[in-house]
Amino acid sequence: MAEHVFFGGKGGVGKTTVASAYALKCANAGLDTLVVSTDPAHSTGDVFDQEFGDEPRSVEGIENLRAMEIDPEHEVQEHLQETKRALGEQLSPAMASGIDLQIEMAHRTPGAYEAALLDRFVDVMREADCDRVVFDTSPTGATLRLLALPELLGKWIDQLAHKREKSIEYFEMAAIGNQEPRRIREGDPILARLRKRKERFEFAGDALDEASFYLVCNPDELSVRETERSIETHREYGLSVDGIVINRLTPEPDADEQGRGARFLREKVETERERVEYVENEFEPPVVAAIETRVREVKGSLLTEVAETLSVDPLRTA
C-alpha cells in the first residue's frame, strides 16, 4: 500500500506550494508519487502551470509525478445519479417520487460535501497504485473534521446495523409457524450495504493512523497560534503531527544596507526569529523546514529550490 502524507494548516500559508515541493522531492528521489488536492479552491494546477482534473494525470516535464484535484460537487452529483439509478432499477417511476425527494434532500444537507470528499479520499487511498500519495488539504477546520469522521461514522454505522439486525430477528421470530417472515437476514441488501460502508471507514481509520501529517504555518502570531491548536486537535483525534514547515520567512538584508527598507526588514526578521524560536522550543513536532519568501510565485525551478529546503527524507518511512 502507498504511504500517505498530509499537509495541513491555516488558509493562505502556502500549503499547496509546500505539498507540491514535497511531492516533487519524492518524485525526484525515484518514488512514484501522486499529489492530491482536496481544497475546493484548487491551486495545484497553478503551481505546475497545468490543468488537472478529477482523475490522476501525469505532470508534464516531471518524471514519476501525477496530480489530481478532487471536486466534491462532482462527487455529490455522481453519488446522487447512482442512487437514483438504483432506485429506478428497484421500482417504477410513479412510485418513486416520495423517495426521490428524500434522496435529493440527503444530497443537499450541509454534510454532503464532506461526506463526498471523504468518500473520494478513501477511494484514492485504496486505489492509488503508487509509492507515495501527498494530500494537499483544505484549510485546517474542514480537514480536521474530515479526518475525525471515519471513526465517528464507523460507530454510527455499527448502531444502524445493530438496529436492523434486531428488527429482522424479531420479524423472523414473529413468523414462526408457516408464515413467510417480512424480512430475512439472509441476503438483506441493507445489512450488506452497511457492512460495506463500515469496512471502508475502518480502512480509512487504519490508513490515517499510519499516515504522516505536516502542518504549514507562517511566522505570524495568528498562524502560530492556529498551529498550536491544530496540533492539539490532531492529538485529540489520535493523530500525531510529524513536523512543522514554516513558510514565508522574511529574508535578511545585507549588513551594509541601511535604508528604510533594510531597517524594516531587519526589524521584521527580528520578530519572526522570536516566533520561529517559540515554535522550535515549545512545539513538540520538529520544524522540518523554514522557507524564505520568494519574490515571484513559487513555480518551476523555484519549486525545486524550495523542495531542497525541506529536510524530510522522502525515502524514510514513517
Binding site: T83, A106, L153, W156, F171, A174, I176, R193
Partner: protein
C-alpha cells in the same frame, strides 16, 4: 356413516376449534406483539437513517440515502406509521383488543 367415522369427525372438529382458540388466545397475540416490536425497532432504524425527513439534519444522510432504493416499502410504511401514531400508549395498547 358408522360410529367410528362420526367420532373421527367430531374429534377433528374439536381439534380444529381448540387449535383456533389456542392460536387466538395465545400464539396470535404473541406473534402480533413481536411483530409490533419489530416494527418499532424498524422505526428507530429509519429515524436514525433519515432524521432529515423530520427536519433534523444528519451527517450520515448522504450515506444512508443509498439505502433508500432498497427501503422503499419500509420507508412508506414507516412514514404512514409515524403520521398515524398518536401516543406510545395508544400503540402499545393495541395488543389488548378491548
Amino acid at each position: 356413516m358408522d360410529l367410528a367415522e362420526r367420532i373421527e369427525r367430531y374429534r377433528a372438529t374439536i381439534e380444529k376449534w381448540l387449535r383456533g382458540l389456542y392460536h387466538g388466545m395465545f400464539t396470535h397475540p404473541a406473534y402480533e406483539k413481536i411483530e409490533k416490536e419489530a416494527e418499532d425497532l424498524e422505526d428507530a432504524f429509519m429515524l436514525a437513517c433519515f432524521p432529515d425527513a423530520f427536519g433534523i439534519p444528519s451527517p450520515v444522510s448522504y450515506y444512508t440515502a443509498e439505502l433508500l432504493p432498497h427501503l422503499t416499502d419500509e420507508y412508506e410504511a414507516w412514514q404512514r406509521r409515524m403520521w398515524d401514531r398518536e401516543s406510545l400508549i395508544e400503540r402499545k395498547g393495541q395488543q389488548y383488543h378491548f
